[in-house]
Amino acid sequence: MSEEDDALIAMFIQESNEHLETIEPDLLILEEKGKDTDPAIINRMFRGVHTIKGTSGFFGLSNISNLSHTMENLLGKIRENVIIPTSEITDSLLAGMDKLTQMIGDVPNSESIDASAEKAVINALLEGGGGGEAKAKVKEEETQAEEEEANADEEEAHTEEEEKGVAVSQSGETQLAKVETTPQFPILENYPDEVSDAVHAGKHLFVIDVKLTGSNPQRQNTFKQFEQLIGPVGTLIATNPEINDDLNFLSCKDDILQILVSTVLELDLVCSLTELTDKNVRQVIIPKGFVKKKEVEKPDTAIEEAEDEDSEDESRPSKRKLRLLNEKLSSQANAPTGGAIAVPEKSTAKQPVVEETLRVSVSLLDELINMAGELVLIRNQLSRTVSTTTSNDPQAPLIQSLDSITSRIQAKVMHARMQQINVVFSKFPRVVRDLANKMKKKITLELRGGEVELDKSVIQHLGDPLTHMIRNVVDHAIELPEIRKAAGKPINGQVQLAAYHENGMVNIAMIDDGAGIDAEKIKAKAIEKGLITTKQSENMGEEDALALIFAPGFSMAKQVSDVSGRGVGMDVVRTNIEKLRGSVQITSKVGAGTNITLKLPLTLAIIPAMIISVRNHRFAIPEVGLVKIVRVVETELEDQIQMVYNAPVLRMQDMLLPLVDLADVLEMHVTWPDNSEKTERRARWLNRQIKKTKDSDEKTSADKDRRAKKNKVIYIMVINIGGNKFGIVVDNVLDSEEIVVKPLPSYFQGNVCFSATTILGDGSVALIIDYAGIMEKAKINFGNIEQSELAKRQGEMRSPLHEKQNIIILETGSGLRMGILTRMVRRVEKIRRKDIDLINDNHYVRYTDKTYRIILPGQVLGLEFDNSLEEIADDENKELCMVISNIPGLQAGLVFAKIVDTMDTYIDLDQQAIQAPGLYGSARLDEHVVLFPNISELFNMVEITAPPPESIWDGAGLKALVVDDTLFSRLMTSSYLKQADFEVTQAKDGETALELLKAEEFDLMVSDLNMPGMSGFDLVKETRETHNSEIPIIATTLFSSKALEFRCGQAGMVGCVPIMDKVRLMNIVESLKRQ
């Protein structure tokens, strides 16, 4: 055959395959719709078959051309409406199509493939016009054809036997003898591996008696046909008598060949498939204990196994024998049998090169991937050395080309491993059709997402579980048409098989509208089987109950199918999927259907990932599920991150995003002394960060140049996992790379934080972060956050005090609790009573080179107790707490016995119950009454004042309006202004303020920005419409930032200060006054 012909034939094969691919689904439509089939579809099939006929005729492939001619005739009749398509007709066409596919898949040997049976069936239908007599005729013709062939074969056999001489008959004799002495076939002990494999894969073993008649070649043919029949659904393990390489089938006892087969099908299905009665098909019972307890395979080894399949095969003698047998058969089939064209000899009977059929072993691909990876590393190193020498290196262009080629090689090699899921899906329409027909059910299968790509190793292992699932759906889930009709459902059961990407996984969902699974019945069954106790079942949710069908013991139960449900082999499905590191989820509604979703990772695939660093260790974070990256300057940390239930959260748009510090979760720094402290860890982390910020703030305010450099940033990777969002805090984001996922060494598999490893551009290994694991480890409870959000909203409804305050709760000597806002505190120091000196009736303490005046809050407030040091500390060595306020220049502190707690909370301030000068009011917190002292007023009362006298903030005769929904901050702001002699009017919200602004004239307005109803910005806008339009406005805010300040400036405000920042507020007031 010339090269040109080869190329032409290759084209023919490709083209024909394309046609055949469309014909199969079209035939299924034809079957479904019958005479209502869209003529366009029939035309398409007709054209397809016609083209195949024409082209094969051109190449002299008479066998293909004859069969397609026959099929074309039938299709033509259907097209002309002479024959009405019945399932019989589609059956025959499908059979013909299968044969065509087989022949086109093996063009050089197509002439020797027997298609007479298919042709006979179709011809009979043609002649009978689709009538009932067709069958009888078929039989007749079949036998006729067989006889004819038998004659031809006998002749052949003669020559063969002559060639082989006596050897054949001798071997035949010895085997005959062997058969007689062999005990009951099969002896499972002879095939331990196969049997174990079959059991683990949830397959059944059958011995099938195949009747062989006629001459040896004829028997070979029958055997081959049987093998083709069973091949797609099962595996041939052994035969009795054993067939040797000489393919002598003559030795069979009573002309019966016993074949041991493993398949997922059950007895009745095997019978109907092989068209044998159950007399000829016997299920082999595998004795308990026969199967070795197989260790739970690790996923990566499972994959490896698949890759090594070829080599492993060699080590299994019986399997190899059978394969040799098959090879032998096909090579014999290659031998010329005489025909219209001269088929080339075996040695030259090479298949013309068709790209799609090129087979490369996976291990070779893996090696290539590894080597391509190495190439990339070398390239990286090379380009580094070149770029470091000179910028104008003549070698630079070379490096550049090397660079691009290397990348392309890597990309292509990687891609070579990927396969479309269609590879698995495409066989199901046929499986469903065949099974449904046999069960007298009507089922429509819809496939979606066939183009989704998965790694070959994953694809390979998908076939079995999916077949299980499909079979279960057809067998158990979809009801018989009558039942469906009675239930008011469409007669055709709908089964949907869909693949799609989600969160870096590939999901394969199988949705049916069948009977569904009754969780209660499952529970009852599980109790009966002893899998769960009655008590367990009571507490068991529906989802957990449904998951029971995956329990190993459960599916083994024979009667499972009468529990309205699936089940047979479902544990195998789960085991297989879990081997691929996937998971199975099931939801079901009785009467409405079931949804089983397989979640599969793209293991071994390439994934895009962000390379991040924490404490100088690099990790990869998969980009799937990564929503965005938030960059936070450490100085702004405090404003953007809050604490909720001791967990740091990032305020993002309308939600609070729980944060996890990666270094903390991975325990990458100081190990914490006690596990019980874990919950506090995150809180401490934030405090630490804030403290750092404060420290650096203090430092940097002195040296502004350094500040720019020290503006450290942290990054928050915002992750969305199954609808739950959270943030992972990392030190730095380095790069975005396409990484190759490599399995995690088994030694680290106990660590839930990592899913796999990868190799980075510089050749070092990096761990890939597992979001779910991080969430688990960090114990993020989304419920809590939601609750707090809810509480927050309710709080807003109840009172305007919706802004959380961080307070320190302290206790005086008598156990009275006082709360001080953290914002007003510079720090809290530990002192001893003996450190305190009494000078002029005033207490002083020396602390870090400075002398502080200290006051006892009880004394100042005029309480009957807590007014002497002795009452606070009975022992002079006892430690006391000194709270130093952040009023600048004020060297004074308040002394308490101890710190009780710090908390973020909403303060429901009561100004009525306890009233005293120097006291804002009281509130109930944690079942205790807490007093809230006004620190600056307390100091004022004992005439402790800061060096810059307040007199310069002289607001005498000026009117100020303070607007704040938070009572606390409103009081504070007011008190600052009052101290500067402003006449202060307070308004609790924007609306009230506006009323006041319309009625009166003010000289200054200080307004909160964040208020319910009218916001600060709205208020400013409205103010411009009143006669107070020229009023200077200062904004206060809980979270101050540059951006916010800018916005305030744009809105025409004179400044924006953090709430209760007296100094900044008064500085702005002062600057206004000067103007």
Binding site: R615, H617, R618, M668, K742, P743, Y747, F748, S764, L767
Partner: protein, 180 residues
């Protein structure tokens, strides 16, 4: 049998050469947070990720000779790049072992007896020695406790040139259940 020998501090050790795939000099290890102390980290050898065991830690030798040798664990990612220590102390060696399937291809019985690991693993050792040919009969049963090493890790001892060569029971080193 042929034994690949090496030293660990003062200890002279050896393993069957069939188990050894290759030997190289210390490169950067990627440490794994939360991993036990005796796992030094991971190493990339031509595209495959090797788990490196710090043999000294694994044999619990650190306590034994704390005073003599300071472990120069360094990680490429770590803040300490180890350069200062590199000068002080000679570099360690990585003995990369064959995986079970690789050994199986060479010698099935050795694979079944000695190979308990499926993942690619390696050992970090101080110095390399020669390859020694050892008569199987010369291997004696190890005493219960050898210079602080649990007998679990020792398959046998051989007297060689006034030195005691310990043949390691490699399988137990990678079996996390075998505690020293």
């Amino acid at each position: 049998m042929l034994v690949c020998t090496f030293s660990l501090g003062e200890l002279y050790l050896g393993i069957d050469i069939v188990l050894v795939r290759e030997i190289n000099q210390s490169l950067g290890y990627t440490s794994v947070p939360g991993a036990p102390d005796h796992i030094r980290g991971m190493l990339n050898i031509r595209g495959s990720v090797i788990t490196m065991f710090n043999l000294k830690q694994r044999l619990n030798m650190v306590k034994y000779e704390q005073n003599n040798v300071q472990d120069n664990s360094e990680s490429i990612d770590g803040e300490d790049d180890g350069k200062s220590q590199e000068n002080k102390k000679q570099q360690q060696f990585n003995i990369i072992l064959r995986t079970k399937s690789e050994v199986t291809r060479i010698n099935r019985s050795i694979a079944q007896e000695d190979c308990s690991w499926d993942d690619p693993v390696g050992l970090v050792v101080d110095r390399l020695g020669d390859v020694q040919k050892i008569d199987d009969h010369a291997i004696q049963v190890a005493p219960a406790n050898l210079q602080g090493i649990s007998s679990v890790f020792v398959r046998g001892v051989v007297e060689m040139d006034n030195k005691l060569l310990l043949i390691l029971n490699v399988g137990s080193i990678f079996n996390e259940n075998d505690e020293s």
